[in-house]
Point group: C2
Chain length 226, copies 2
DNA sequence: GTACGTTTCAAACATACGTTTGAAACGTAA
DNA sequence: TTACGTTTCAAACGTATGTTTGAAACGTAC
């Protein structure tokens, strides 16, 4: 083990603990003791705790972002000249690319989904900044594909509906383990992350294509709602 | 100020800081210095930081839960005998009840939405337990109303779609301030929390009523998607 | 085998946290 | 005024955190 596996052991432990407990709630001592390495190893190999957090994301996100780019390439190639890619296809490209990730079993993917959810929710200014700087390109491409697929939406409507999609996805995937467990004990049905995605995609697509926004009845009135 | 206003000053400061920064990232020293009270006041009046967190939620949630119950009562009364309340009406009852909350301006509501989102996202075991124990009844009622409004869904489908709804709502509301800000600088449009709700409700309703779940194509295949 | 760059390790460092303490200040009723 | 329960306050406590340190161990090339 020339370039010792200490680095990977730390990344593995950190990834799991961050996903379980969040960033601030996970101490370097928890990480190093789970990884069975010395406490100082994190600062030696990564420099700081924040840099470790970035490294955890980069290890997954960099190859994922590459996979995603080529999936988008293929999507656009298939549809050149004709009508733009449908909403379902765009959304599915995201999840398909995740599933195709090498070196990542299903559990690895669900862990990472939770991390992405946390990244968006916990303030952690440095993280948001890091992600925006490093991965703005595939995100921007996803946005413009979405725009082509929903030309009927106003910019404002599209903006909010994209936030709703992000929320439903990040939230569900971030708790997918727990939610799968609850469903199994309550109804006795086993579910995979892919199956969740297969249910999520049409939900999101339908939401994006939903009719006009609701008229808000004035406070205290009893106007009938559709 | 017989029962000094220290308690309320602490609650106000804590509410805002928790919403801005999350629970673990907000220290008692930040809270007490923002509230301009002594550090020891929190432990004197509330007992512990966790108890303070509970108190922040209880101050909003207890009256809200009462308002919600009566909204559900009214909803069921209107529809007795006939068809059950529609999805849109159920969802709208939630947001309408929030808006009706006395002593809460719009900013107060948006702060609290963010807190609810954080409560669901940050692990914070004690908080989830507290909320489940204190407010299980209105939640259970909401669930059974949802069941009546979507009889066409299987239990499994309904389970997952409820999670999607919770996610979109919690996530969006938890970042509503930031998202409104972004939209304002990018497109120059001002938005209120009520307007977000007015866009969210039809999105959710459409998602709940979406057609069948997607067939997942085998890995690596190039099967066409609808 | 010796020298040297890299990695590990135990220990300590400075700092921030939630909480506790005991005395001072306050308000009120006798 | 006196006495007493309540509230405030500065200070300290114990603990946990991220980070740094300097020596030891390791691996490799000469």
């Amino acid at each position: 083990m020339a370039q010792s596996d200490t680095v990977d052991r730390i990344l593995d432990a950190a990834e799991e603990l961050f996903a379980e407990r969040g960033f601030s709630e996970t101490s370097l001592r928890m990480i190093t003791s789970k990884a069975k390495v010395n406490l100082a190893a994190v600062n030696y190999h990564f420099g700081s705790k924040n840099a470790l957090i970035h490294a955890v994301f980069a290890r997954f996100l960099t190859p994922y972002s590459a996979t995603l780019e080529s999936a988008f390439d293929q999507l656009e190639a298939e549809c050149q000249g004709g009508e733009p890619p449908s909403l379902n296809r765009i959304l599915w490209a995201l999840t398909e690319s995740a599933v195709r990730m090498p070196q990542r079993n299903e559990r690895g993917i669900s862990i990472f989904m939770r991390l992405l959810g946390l990244a968006y929710t916990q303030s952690q200014g440095h993280l948001r900044k890091f992600l925006e700087e490093e991965y703005s390109q595939p995100f921007g491409r996803f946005m413009s594909l979405l725009k082509e697929a929903t030309p009927e939406l106003s910019a404002v409507d599209r903006y909010w509906r994209i936030q709703f999609m992000l929320g439903a996805t990040a939230f569900t995937m971030s708790s997918s383990d727990a939610l799968i467990g609850i469903l199994e004990t309550k109804i006795g049905v086993e579910t995979s992350v892919q199956e969740i995605a297969a249910r999520l995609v049409p939900f999101l697509a339908a939401g994006m294509k939903a009719p006009e926004k609701l008229q808000m009845p004035p406070l205290g009135s009893d106007i009938e709602l559709a």
